[in-house]
Every structure is written in structure tokens, then in C-alpha cells.
């Protein structure tokens, strides 16, 4: 038994030495803020094998006023789009440029775009891409505002903007 204990101690020592600092920061809250922390270090990695511990709770934090960061962390309907876009901007932008994709289809769902208008929505995203992404600062709010005004100009899609 002693031998096992010693080996385990040796192993822990080596892995502690070989490990970089461990990202244990909390997720923080804030509208649309998403925090993903990579994890490094062998020990957390190995022991996290079945836990998914570091990337579970701490990787995602968002709040929308009264909700989020607490027990009922479901996203309020009216901020759902904003959070979705902020969290997926890199994927969504690519699909807007391509004129199709799962994220774009999901955005259409959030915006209640009916199936018959989906094609129009996809081409508008692609055709207006240059305008929507004109500015150097492309944050989620900015992009959504530009998309909204582009949709207002479109006779099929204007009805989805209140």
C-alpha cells in the first residue's frame, strides 16, 4: 500500500510542477457577456475527466436584468436575440456572408421569420453584408440595428421589425 501512496504522491508532484495556473475565475454576469475560460494544467485536466468541471458553470455567464446568474437562469424572451447574437457573432457573421447556415436559420426562428420569407431573409443578410458590417466596430447591437433597418427597407421582411 505504501508503494501505491508513494507513486500517487510522486505523480501528483510531477503533474503539479508541469501544470500552469488553473483558470478558476467565476463567470461574471452582464448582459450578453460570455466567458469561456480555457483550462490548463494536467491535474485539472485529468481529474476533470468525468466532471467537465471547469467548463461547466464557469464558462457561461449571462444575465438579463432579473434573471441569469441565479437559479432560474433562462433568458428572457425579449433579450434572447441580443444574447444569441452576442454569443455567436463569429459563426453568425460567417453564415450571413454565406447566405445560409444553422445559426442564421436559428436567428430567423428567434425573429419569428416565417418559412416562406426565410429565403428572402438569407439573401438580405448576404446582400446587405457589406452595409451591415461597414463599420470597424462590429458589436452585436450595432449589427442587429443595421440588420433591422435593412429589413425595414424590404417589403417581405419589414413586418418582422416592430
Amino acid at each position: 500500500m505504501n508503494i501505491i501512496v508513494k507513486s500517487a504522491a510522486l505523480f501528483f508532484a510531477v503533474s503539479a510542477i508541469s501544470s500552469a495556473s488553473f483558470a478558476g475565475e467565476g463567470s461574471g454576469c452582464g448582459l450578453g457577456q460570455t466567458v469561456f475560460k480555457g483550462q490548463s494544467g494536467l491535474m485539472p485536466n485529468i481529474l476533470a475527466a468525468t466532471t467537465n468541471s471547469t467548463s461547466g458553470n464557469q464558462t457561461f455567464g449571462l444575465t438579463s436584468g432579473t434573471l441569469g446568474c441565479n437559479a432560474e437562469a433562462v433568458v428572457k424572451n425579449d433579450s434572447q436575440r441580443e444574447i444569441f447574437v452576442a454569443a455567436n457573432l463569429d459563426n453568425l457573421s460567417q453564415e450571413m456572408a454565406q447566405g445560409h447556415g444553422d445559426h442564421l436559420a436559428s436567428l430567423a426562428t428567434i425573429m419569428n421569420v416565417e418559412p416562406k420569407d426565410e429565403a428572402a431573409f438569407y439573401s438580405l443578410a448576404q446582400n446587405e453584408f457589406g452595409n451591415i458590417f461597414k463599420s470597424n466596430t462590429v458589436d452585436a447591437n450595432h449589427i442587429m440595428a443595421s440588420l433591422d433597418s435593412a429589413m425595414l427597407q424590404n417589403q417581405d421582411l419589414a413586418k418582422y421589425i416592430q
Partner: protein, 677 residues
Amino acid sequence: MQLAVYLKLFIIFLHTGFIATILLASSATANENITNMANIQELIESHEFDKAVERTLNNKNHYLYELINKATALELESHPVWRTLLHYKASLIHHTISQVDGTDYFNSQNGKTNSQSELIATLASFFSTTKIKDIDMTPQCRFPARFYWLNKQLNFDPTKLAKQDCKKFKYFSQALDANAVTVVFPSAHPNSPSSMFGHTLLRFDRKGQTNKTRMLAYSANYAAEINSTNEFAYAYKGLTGGFIGKFSIIPYYMKLREYSQMESRSIWEYQLNLTPSQVDFIVMHTFELEITHFDYYFFTENCSYHLLSLIEVAIPELKLTDHFNGAVVPINTIKLLDKHNLISKKEYYPSNRQLIKNRRNDMAKEKFSLAIEISKDTNKINSKELSKYNEAEQATIFDMAYDLNRFNKIQSTGELDSKINNSQRKLLIARSSLKVKTPSVKIDEPSTYPDEGHGTTRITFGGGTIEKSQYASFGFRLAYHGILDPTEGYSPNSQIQFFSLKARYHTSTSSYQLAQLDIIDILSLEPRDSFFQDISWRINTGISSTSTKTTTNNLVYTVNGGPGLTYSANFLNNTYIYSFLESELNHSQIYDTQLQALAGLSAGFLTNLTAYWKIHAYAKLLGHINNRDANVSDVYTIALEQSFSIAKDISVHFQLSQDKLYLGKVSTSELSVNYYF
């Protein structure tokens, strides 16, 4: 104050419906009763449920009295649904104990260990209209599953026990909008060791959801809350329940980003075969659990165990969690669900890395090289080289360039920041001007799902010779997958083994010997190419025997490992050539210095000749660092290993090796049969 008391009394009279009785009784008794009733309600409102129950037992007029009697007669405290809702398990000391560790989860002071007092206190709590501090909910609204189920069993009289309007739960269940649940299994990715066992979470599938929009669903994820930055504390706490484990509700798109994009893990989705009311009940219980917490145990009460304990409330008769007494390997919970025919649909969601590889296979080499260049410097979108391609080809190159750029960004920062930078923006603007669709990529779906792979525990019987001494061997491995084990359902180029023991019985001397005990043995061979530049690595720690002698004196405990490079050979499928830098620490009584430090090199070749036949050959050469004595020479190992899969859970291994060790050369040959379960 007086007025409030009278008001409450009046309400109680209405609720209990015993006004008539009280009017008929003598005024003295009536007064006593009134005081008693008032006291009970006051105790309930101050959430002193045990005391309220005590009082009620002397007051047959309270509706609670009737409910307690009814519940006791029905023996609801030992009903499987009640026991799973409270996560009760048999316990030696307490007879029964709940695995929930948040005190907020129990209405009775003894609720953690006493099913009956918790049941009765819960019935009492339903009469309370006072909200629980911090969570701003009445007990009835805090435990929607308990209320729903007890109401079904006892048919609460709404005039005596009113159903309250629970806004928070209503909002929660409307947001989830679940009509099915899916167990999601992010599988292992070799170079992300934290993922090596996989993980499970639960997705709430919405009405009208498609494969495209499933990312909008919510998921419930159980994880440890890590509050320690010290690695020793991390290990210790993780094994001893020092961390708190909590359920959280997270949009599925966040989980997809995390597993598919950040950790390069492919995802397997197993939709469960449950009725809408079973799904509703799981939603109710998710709400209950999300507020409280468990103690987290890495190996036993882990993510997959408690996910199963959540699902279990809908199907308590299957006693799903009782199936696991030791370590819970996530994939085994899926196998269990499958065994009970609970899986109705399986889906594969490739990792981002896999998608890139698939797309690359559809692309000419020069186009891929150009995409790499553009991904590194987006000004190359104007390069002349592009002009020789048509619009569709250019679009494919831009798409790939963006994929690679994003992949590198995520990998280099280790964070899944979704912001796009200026060069990404320019690249996308160029792409948007090409009005062509990206051709859909052919996804190489693995032929075997992870739940169809070999069992995670292994026993071995075999025989062999070591330096002409014959022996019979026996082996046991707790988990999970070795490089020679059948590949189907696992990654072909990695191994993770926990607690692997090998013993020998020498026939000539009739003696037993501990040959090897590996505590952890991990090998990750991640092939490099023009884009993916991963470092392979290995680590091993354990005890091994240095000779045929059976005394314990010749045991050595070792820690070794190091980084390496792996390349995949083009001429054969699933063939890897690798080389590692090796470092090793040995401790043994047989050494003069007790502790030996060694360093060196290793190289190997691993191939899956056919789906059933693997060959692994390697050599390792190590020199002493702290002992340059002329008598102490370098050590080496050469080995040739082959394995044949006979069936899903049976394989035959044949190993030849020569070790030059501290005490001299040792040649070994062994044939063994492995059974997985």
C-alpha cells in the same frame, strides 16, 4: 398585530372547513382549537414545519392532519417516486440518506435522513404562503415536482389547500418549452485530456425544433463549482466531495461552442423515448435541483451520475442510479439507457476540427494551402493566385480561410470570444460578394457510436515466458481504453487507463508476483499536418517489477512522460508514426541512490492493419541523469505488440519485448485474452 392574528384565524377557518364543528363545541374547546389552529398556521408561515406537524398531530381538525394520515396509509414515504425526488439512497448509519447536500432542499430538519418526516413536513409546507428568503418563492412553488406528484397521490382539496400561482416555474417551463429530452454525449478528444471519459448533459427539445435550430434549446448541465486554484487541493477536494456540484441551465448553442469549437469534441445526441408527462416531470424536477446543490465526487457522484438521477424521477422503477456502485464512466450511463430501450433517436454532431478535416478532403491541396495563407493574412484576399479560380472555388477558399482563422483564434486564446476582428470582417465582406452557396460537406460519420464500443473495464488471462521462466498471468483494468483495445466507438489514436493491474504466477517456483500496477497511463497521438500542429503527449505512473524474482524489493515506482510529435502515414489507414521526449523518475530499494532520474527518446509505429488487427511497435532509450557511474549503463525497451479483436468485447493480445534494466536484460513474450465489460 391582533388584527393580523384574527385575520389569519378567519382564513384558517375558511380553509379547514371546520367552522360548524367549532361553533357547536363548547366555547372553551373552541378557544383552545382556535389558538391551536392559529399556532399551526403561524408555525407553517414561519417555515417551522416540524413543529407545525407536531401540533397538527393533536389537532384532527386541520386538513394537514387528514393529508398526513392519508400519505402514511399509502406509505408514500417509501414510494419510488418520492425516494428519487429526494435522491434517497440506502445508508448503513441512517438507514436512508439523501445525496442532496443543500439544506434548502429539505423542509424537515431531519429531511436528509428521514423520508417520512420530510414527506410530512413537505405536506405542511404546501400550506405556507410565505416566500422563502433569497429565492422569493413559497415552498409549494419551490418544489413543483413534489407538489404535482403529491397532489396526484392525495387529491388535494383546493378549498382547503389552494394551488398557488407559481410565476417563476411557469416562466421556466415556458422558456424550456420541452416536448422531449436528449442526453448529449460530448465524446473524448485525444488532445483534450479533460474530455477523455466524455461527459453527459441533458437537452430539452422544443416543439418544432429542427436539426438546424436545435441550438436554441436549453440544456441542463451538472458540474462542479471549482473554487480552488491549488492543484493539490483540487485533487483532494475532487476525490473527497470538497466541491459543490450544481445543475445549471445553459442555451445549447453555448454547449455546442464549448465542445465542438473550443474543445474539438464530437457530440452524440441520444433522444429519449419518454412520454410528454414524463418530460414535464423532468422539467419540474430540474427546476427543483437547479436551486440546490450536491457534493461533487469526481469518480462516483459526477456529471453523468446526477444527470441519470435527474432522468430517474420519470422512470423510478428502473432504478437507474442503483446500477452504479463505483466509478461512473459517462458512456456507461448511455449504455444503460439503451439497455432499457430508452433511446429513440441518435444524432452525430461533428466537432469543428472534424468538419475542417472533412472539408479539406473535398478540396485540392493548393486551394487548402491558399486558404491557410489567407487565414494568416487576410490581405491576400486580393492575391493574383485567386483569380485563376472561379467564383464557387473562391467562395470555398474564403470559407475555409475563415474556418481556419477562427479555429486558430479560439485555440490560441483558449477562450470562446465570439467577437470578430477587422481582418475577419474584411474576409467575410469579400465572401459575401460571391453569391454562391457553400457546398454542403460530406460528414464522415463514424461507423460505430460510442455506446457500441467495448466495455470500459477489462480482465485479462494469459501466459508467457520471462527469461525462460514460464508464467500464467492475470490482469484487471478499471477503465477505460488502451491503444491495443478494439477501436470501434473509441478514438483510434489515444489511450487512457486508470488502475491497471497485472500479476504473474511462475510455474517453476510456484510463486506469485506483482508484475505491474499502472495508476494512470495516458497516451495521446495527435497527428500533425500542414494546419493542425498539435503536440502529442504521454504520462504514466505506477509500479513495476524489474525481474523475475518475486520479492517486493525489486519493485520500482515510476513516473514518466513527455511531449512528442505524431504523423499520420498516408499509405495506410489509421497509421501513426510518433516520437517522444522521455523523462522518468524511478524510486526503488534496489538502487544505490534510491531515486533515479532518466531522460531519453522513444519512437513508435501504430497501425490498424484491418478493423480487427492492430500492430504497435516501439523503442525507448533512456540515460541516467543523476548517476553517471561507469557501472550504470543506459536502459532501453523494444517491444512489438499485436492485437486481434475477436468480438466487440473480446480481444487477443500478443506481446514480445526486451527490456534492458538496471539489473540486466529481460526478455518477455506473452499471449493473453482480454474480456471487456
